[in-house]
Symmetry: C2
Subunit: 164 residues, 2 copies
DNA sequence: CTTGGAAAGTCAACAAGGCTGACGTAAATT
DNA sequence: AATTTACGTCAGCCTTGTTGACTTTCCAAG
């Protein structure tokens, strides 16, 4: 095995290994979104609705602008999604009491039900994968993902971690 | 720590831990695609072109239908992308000699150059992440991703691994 | 040799979900 | 009073996915 002066084996940094990681991300992300996509297909909603529902569930009472910064889309794009969710009675939007310009978002009971269905499916796959590989591998998984994030996204991710 | 009868700590399978993994995938995938997206923006191409270029580079001479099964899109969708790449001289399409119905796809020199630029950027981020966390974590990362894939996708992934 | 079916390509139409730009309104801040 | 902020909305555009229908080419089985 090739060793550096520091005694560290660096074969895991070869282009070949990196490419495998890239392809693993590509194929795994497909699996990651497959189950929710299947549930949503035919019911007028898509991945964008899922994301909004997820993060509203995650941070009840969050504002539109906060959601915008988490999702990284334009307000026009988010608004289209949010409007249908509100019209359909999955999301409730309330004027802020301390700052009345803000809208605070909550899932309704109906919204909670869909969220539950979606996250159950997504967690089931995740749980099977975690169980198959064990806690050590899971720790590595999360470490690499976190290291791949843009700093701004890592901040968002860690804010969510603490909050929850 | 909670332990099972088998003596195994299962705290890593809580809904909370699973949710963190889900959010990590979401934010990390953004980082994963960010650099190629930046390169491609403004040059008429998008993520779909990147994917086609990647897998043609990966398996030179691959056929259209093979590419279809890897990418998981319709031939109409792939064809639109492929057509522009061929027109722009990034991809060469050759009638098969043994089976002339098939088209064998190769990157031209120009295509190789763009592939290089894109994969350099993507690998750079990957390498930084890998280096930051070490080989042990990287192994876990790959194990979890592989376990998350649909069986069909895992087959594709492993075929690529061997081939390369 | 004929024909059935696979592989590839093409046209048309459509939808989701991104984007920009412009504009309006209410509320907070200065 | 003027400006800025948060939000909503209208209009229009792009990429990338979809379905359906159709053609051309060509291999292989009958």
């Amino acid at each position: 095995m090739a060793e550096t002066p520091g005694g560290e084996n660096l074969l895991f940094l070869t282009d070949e290994q990196l490419r495998k990681g890239i392809e693993a991300m590509f194929f795994a992300y497909r699996g990651f979104t497959a189950d929710p996509d299947r549930i949503l297909e035919g019911m007028d909603y898509g991945r964008a609705h899922h994301r909004a529902i997820h993060f509203i569930h995650r941070s009840p009472g969050t504002t539109v602008s906060n959601l915008l910064s988490i999702l990284g889309v334009t307000k026009q794009s988010l608004n289209r999604v949010l409007r249908t969710l509100i019209e359909d009675g999955l999301v409730r939007s309330e004027k802020g009491k301390v700052d009345a310009r803000e809208r605070h978002l909550h899932l309704t009971d109906k919204g909670q039900m869909l969220e539950r269905e979606l996250s159950d499916a997504q967690r089931a796959r995740m749980r099977a994968a975690y169980r198959a590989v064990g806690p050590q591998a899971v720790q590595g998984f999360r470490q690499v993902l976190e290291a791949m994030m843009d700093p701004e996204m890592r901040r968002q991710y860690n804010r969510l971690k603490e909050g929850g």
